[in-house]
Symmetry: D2
Subunit: 189 residues, 4 copies
């Protein structure tokens, strides 16, 4: 039973969980992912629920970095080709829509990157590269990090920080000047 | 009191209203609008509620026609410049967000096109070109077409068909081959 | 070869096509659909691209009419149950995501309504009720209305006007007072 | 000049920044915020760009927790009343749309909560309660946490974790049983 449920004590628990999750992300895999992203003609992302929301934040940032990116279902989504990357994110790797979209995508031969917890999943199986964030999913796999937080919050938080770290790596790698990024940022707001 | 409320009789009433609205759209203004759209570097659109939904359908079609288009607030929305067009659609021309966005946009000097019913409105006042669809709005202006339909349905229906007619004019004008359009259509669906 | 490509002549062609499409919608089927919608606990809709956009406009209107409605993927989407209705709209009835979602939905036993052109499709096959709008789709079925417009524009236009006519029928059936509808309308705009 | 730009070293920098930001969030203010959220009839949120994305993730979670929530602009957004809460999130507190929406909202007298970095801003000025996350914004206020990350990433990350911590506090406070939360979770995915 928790003694304190104030903001500082609970946010410390959240941060500790996120730290544990990020510590298990593999450096070389992350390197491989950003190489694919940098050399892609276009990047597409698919997920569901809060996972899709985190992916949308990544799409927004990639565009700022000069990498053309779209979420599947976006109003101005173009056709995918073999020169593109599709990121399929799903903790369990079994979410219905991402798997269905991944299956359609294979017809056009893009590079598919799976981000999630379950390397034995259908989504992982159709991917060319996998980046594992081993957080508890609905499947409760034995080697996943447990979490005291509601539902799949930990995976979603770790996903945002993983994706933002990838964006940060791209900035460093391409030696982008931070203040120039605003030039590509929406100005109608 | 209506005798029949079956689908065929009510859809005939809806169609008659839409026909009356479209009949009042000015040919030369429409021509001027598509010239601006064709020569624009990028096209942005802003509206609220169901009006924004109709604009999103137009954005999707413009991209198929090879015209780069975005709705304001879209995940991958870029910066607007003086080479771009901003369409502000609002029946009353006084919707808060479109007017606020229009005001921000004027700093970057795009061509602003107002589409709506109220040429005396704030949105019309900040625009370079106006395309009037004179359907009843919340303001109940005296010279607007009345409607038996709920809320602003007539304006929204007339807006979709007006925008789709503009798209059709662009196809004819640019002599686009219809089956080639699918090349730019999303294929992950 | 078209002599005139001005707004009035092209919008007349568009309207004629839409009129032909709506004329083929069955009165009794439409009646059955609105009965399902009125008695539903909640209504969900799924489609892709511009079809989904038209469905979103319908969701917005249904909520104004006091019928709780959501599009699949909406941020605040709740769980579907056997007391609910799922509308699956797809011209061809074979769009990947609508079919995948329809398949998941059958586990929860909602009433599934198919709206589209292809009664022999997978989506139609999993539905309890079908409302046919026989417009040309990617499949080019023999008994579909042809169209001079780009892509599936005609289906999308006919879909919006069909759905708005259904909304209009609900207003008449429930004897809703039009000005009261604004009470449920978003006021932060 | 950074020696290592691998995932582990950069994610550690990101996490350190987020930890510093969260450490500056006031316990009593956070308590006051969740009391408002729990007693609200409905919760609305408004922001722009990636800030809006993080707010949408919060809306999704609040609904799981049994708190009716919407983002402004959502398809099924209802009318706001004096019994509701509006969260206006903006690092600088001067984002055009949030400020415009906040101004409209004041006519209906909801409780307005400002979340951001700038307590001297227009958005903070129209709010009844403020929760400060002092991260660098476009304004570069003197007392804000600086960041090595691109643009306003730190604010957005700290915002997600702050909101998720608030959700976690609500779970504890209302003694919600975590596995019951899935009952309100979308099941069409």
């Amino acid at each position: 039973m928790r003694e304190n449920v104030n903001f500082q004590s609970l946010s410390a628990e959240v941060l500790d969980e996120v730290r544990s999750a990020l510590a298990m992300v593999d450096d070389e895999r992350a390197e491989a992912v950003i190489e694919k992203l940098i050399s892609a003609h276009k990047v597409f992302v698919i997920g569901v629920g809060r996972v899709m929301i985190m992916l949308q934040a990544f799409v927004k940032r990639l565009n700022h970095l000069g990498i053309e990116a779209y979420y599947v279902g976006e109003i101005n989504e173009p056709a995918i080709t073999q020169d593109d990357v599709l990121i399929v994110a799903s903790g369990s790797g079994e979410s219905v829509v991402p798997v269905a979209i991944g299956r359609v995508a294979t017809k056009y031969h893009p590079t598919i990157i799976y981000i999630g917890s379950n390397l034995a999943s259908t989504a992982a199986g159709m991917s060319n590269l996998q980046l594992r964030i081993p957080c508890r999913t609905k499947l409760n796999l034995p080697d996943e990090l447990n979490s005291v937080q509601p539902m799949s919050s930990l995976f979603e938080q770790a996903l945002l920080l993983t994706l933002d770290t990838l964006a940060f790596m791209i900035v460093e790698k391409k030696k982008l000047v931070l203040k120039d990024l605003w030039l590509k940022h929406a100005n109608l707001e």
